[in-house]
Amino acid sequence: MHASFPILSALILLPILGAVLITVISNKHLEIVKLIAMLFSVGVGGMSIWLLASFKTDDSGFQYVSQHDWVTSWGISWHLGVDGVSLFLVVLTGILFPLVILGVDPHHDHKRYLAWLLLLEAGVMGSFLSLDLFLFFIFFEIVLVPMYFLIGGWGYDKRVYAATKFFLYTMLGSAFMLVGIIATAVLARRDIGYLTFDLVTIAEQASFATNTGRWLFVSFAIAFAVKVPIFPLHTWLPDAHTQAPTGGSVILAGVLLKMGTYGFLRFGLYLFPAAAVWAKPVLLTLAVIGIIYGAIAATMQTDLKRLVAYSSVAHLGFIVLGIFAITSQSLTGSVMQMVNHGISTGALFLLVGMIYERRHTRQIAELRGIQSVAPIFSAAFMIVMLSSIGVPGLNGFAGEFLILIGSFQSARWWTIVAATGVILAALYLLWAYQRVFHGEPDEANSTFAEMTLREGALIMVFIGLIGFTGVYPKPMLERIEPSVDKLVEHVVSHSDYKAPTTPEVVKPESTKEEGH
């Protein structure tokens, strides 16, 4: 125990408390409701930043561990911990939620909207912090409920269809994972001697027969593949993203999808190293297909929000590529890219939301020449877009570069194909930018309002993060690396996989010349 204050439990329980408070306050006191939502989300954000600052960079294990018995007869405990893999996802969650709560107006039913958002935050935090399979499943699954209501209640025209599709699709994936989780615990009992759902105990002490491990891995992988989403299980994503309200899209892209990639790291590689190595070629191939397919599909979209949604499919393909290349750099890059994608795509969704607020359309064909009427807005869009493309000096580059350089050592041909995805990303985003912002504005677009102070302040936070990470990724890398190295060692020692020996020159610390 590092601190007497159970900060990780507080990160989960505070938003729940906030949601409960909001629920009991009468609808008439809307200002108090908003104030509570703000206080609680900012409080959680502040705590997550404190966590980041006080995180021990030289410790590769789990920190701030909190463990209490819960369901003793099933060996289930409230077991939380944070390491380099989950730290930045926790911080990202802590930062994104207050920004969404402060910056995005749902237009109606504020009280319910804010309560659902806070519950969602608790669920996401719990997923990233849980070190117990049962506990993880609970948070992983409970997240569906607030998200379902957020899409269904505050979304656009086809919101009910999109929300239902999202719920059932993800639940189907989880159905397999639940059986997998139970089977994992039951089978691990033979090695451990008692029934436990504790992730660390199972991962360190249990070993599964080759085929058993593969089946178990597959059951987890289906759930995560749906969540990420990996091609061909991605079809829920464009609908959910397009129909979700802006705040929902930001959260969905920013942190919810990361629960899938995070799951692959924590419950794929860590729990079933041998099976993950076995499944490597398939997942690498699907990741690369996702990169190319997502990019091509994004190019073809006529709806700006759908375009960003498909770009997520491509970007998450990169993250999956980095995970299953299983080298220190590629994994570090993947963790970093999870955060980067959350920031960049979150900001893109915010900007698309602002466009919709002004023009009540997201059709690219109906937008043009915005640059000449709203130059600041266009500049903000440009920076965020460039970060999404992965232009050096911005955050997207650092992550993508690490993924590619790491993957090249262990998955050469996949990486070569994937690298073309970088070019495609530039193609669809720049082309969209050109159509929306260049040219002469027609009548409808000539009154496009410039960014307000509030919107500007919101976007500035994102741009600040984009710039800082792009120029100076060291604080991030030095926290991620020890845990990732440990994970790679774990995979190597528990399977016949041999990590490619890392040439000194491409140690991540020396790949940041672009920033200076």
Binding site: V71, I142, V145, A175
Partner: protein
């Protein structure tokens, strides 16, 4: 043991019968005093029902506690087994009766038709259910089954102003009689094959090396017939066809009672027969239960998708739940499994969920008890947000969303199933649960995301409020602290042979 040569009947340990006697006393009081005293105070009948059931409940709870040091025993020449298994099932049934009586009082007050008959029938059906769960003898089991069923036929048809209610009662009666015949024929065949109608006696005969009458086919056909008869009562596919019509037509409190107590009793009987009587024939019945379980979970969840009436939806969902319980029963057919405990756990939780859900349906069903279409639920969140929230909790619990009791129950049976290596069954059940979730989402969509069609005042009877509040709180408490209930169900064991 009783010697057949003496004329004395078996000694009667009245104490063991307190639950049943208390319900019987309540019935007699209602019928006698009810007909002698014309006007009773408001809800007087409900109070009598509630008090006699509470006495039964307390007696059962005391018994549960007394069984701490022993495993229970059989009484009345071994025809009634009082063990933690039967006591747990009895407690569940008593709770269902109390909930049922509360809902019934709200229903009758609203219909302006308060009277003792329905309460008396409620109590007699509960007596049948209590006999069923404790029966260690197939004929006694059959008696219990008939007492339960006959009362339910009458209750289902009790709304004389609604044609569907009449239809429901008749349909249930004809099909129920048909299934009883199957059951009875199965008893006869098993008796012919083993020479015993006692469940524990059958088990002893089958575990002996000498088989009496050496007719294996007769035994197998008998087992099959028993499964058909009880499969009908628990509404397992393919014997489920009656369920939606009867559930829709019967008065809502009756539907709730039928869906909970009826199912608990039939499942308890089924489990005792399979696990005690036919323990040696596990390899024969397990595949059948396996097939029934898969068929039932999928039938329930797939057919639910196209329904437009909430009562029918809940009927199909109850079919799907029966499938899940069968998953636990199948697991119980493997050595060292806790399938019985998890099935009982499922039944207890299911009882609470189904009672709460139907209580909300009752609150909305209007003066005719017929406004149960999905469209009647539109925009409920705007009209009565608390009611909509409660229903959402109960529906999501039925869908198996974590932190609700429904998740605990599903998790437990799936765990039993996985421990028994029935992976195919476990995965199928979970996939079916996802299909089934669509049904609950549709109701949630209606309530939260659509505009109300009427803005008439919804007045909720205080008795119904009690049922809803208690079931929602219980759902959440068990969801957050599953250990409370798991500990109890784990102790649900059979009396030694």
């Amino acid at each position: 043991m009783v010697f057949a040569s003496t004329l004395d009947g078996p000694s009667i340990p009245w104490v063991e019968l307190i639950p049943i006697l208390s319900l019987l006393a309540g019935t007699c009081f209602l019928l006698l005093v009810g007909s002698l005293v014309p006007t009773w105070p408001r809800r007087g009948y409900a109070w009598v029902t509630g008090i006699s059931t509470t006495v039964a409940l307390v007696a059962n709870a005391v018994k549960w506690n007394n069984l701490y040091y022993n495993k229970g025993a059989t009484y009345f020449a071994d025809v009634i087994a009082i063990d933690r298994f039967s006591v747990l099932a009895s407690i569940t049934i008593c709770l269902a009766v109390i909930f049922g009586a509360l809902m019934m009082s709200a229903y009758l007050v609203r219909m302006n038709a308060d009277g003792p008959e329905l309460y008396a029938l409620l109590l007699t059906s509960a007596i049948g259910a209590l006999v069923m769960v404790a029966a260690n003898e197939l004929i006694v089991l059959f008696l219990g089954l008939e007492i339960l069923s006959l009362s339910l036929y009458l209750l289902a048809a009790s709304n004389r102003d609604r044609e569907q209610s009449q239809e429901s009662g008749l349909k249930y009666f004809i099909l129920g009689g048909f299934s009883s015949a199957f059951f009875l024929y199965g008893v006869a065949l098993i008796f012919g094959s083993t020479g015993s109608t006692k469940i524990s006696g059958i088990g002893q005969v089958l575990s002996g090396s000498i088989s009496i009458g050496n007719s294996d086919a007769m035994l197998l056909v008998g087992i099959g017939m028993l499964l058909v008869g009880l499969g009908f009562k628990v509404s397992a596919a393919p014997f489920h066809v009656w369920t939606p019509d009867v559930y829709e037509g019967a008065p809502t409190p009756v539907t709730a009672f039928m869906a909970s107590a009826g199912k608990v009793a039939a499942f308890a009987a089924l489990i005792r027969i399979l696990a005690v009587g036919l323990e040696q024939r596990v390899d024969d019945w397990r595949p059948v239960v396996w097939a029934l379980a898969i068929l039932t979970v999928f039938t329930g969840s797939i057919l639910a998708v196209v329904q437009t009436n909430v009562k029918r939806m809940l009927a199909y969902s109850s079919i799907s739940h029966a499938g899940f319980i069968l998953v636990g029963v199948e697991a119980a057919g493997h050595a060292g499994s806790d399938g019985i405990a998890t099935s009982m756990n499922y039944l207890a939780i299911y009882t609470v969920l189904v009672m709460g859900s139907f209580a909300i349906v009752l609150a909305l069903s209007g003066n005719t008890d017929g406004e149960t279409n999905l469209s009647d639920f539109k925009g409920l969140a705007k009209r009565r947000p608390a009611l909509a929230l409660a229903f959402t909790v109960l529906l999501f619990a039925q869908a198996g969303v974590p932190l609700t009791a429904g998740f605990v129950s599903k998790f437990a049976v799936i765990k039993s199933s996985v421990e028994a290596n029935s992976y195919v069954l476990a995965v199928s059940a979970m996939v079916a649960a996802v299909i089934g979730a669509y049904l609950y989402l549709r109701i949630a969509v209606s309530m939260w995301l659509e505009e109300p069609e009427s803005d008439s005042e919804i007045s909720v009877d205080p008795a119904v409020v009690i049922v809803i509040v208690v079931s929602v709180i219980a759902t959440l408490i068990v969801g957050f602290f599953p250990e409370l209930l798991l500990h109890a169900t784990r102790l649900a064991r059979f009396a030694p042979l």
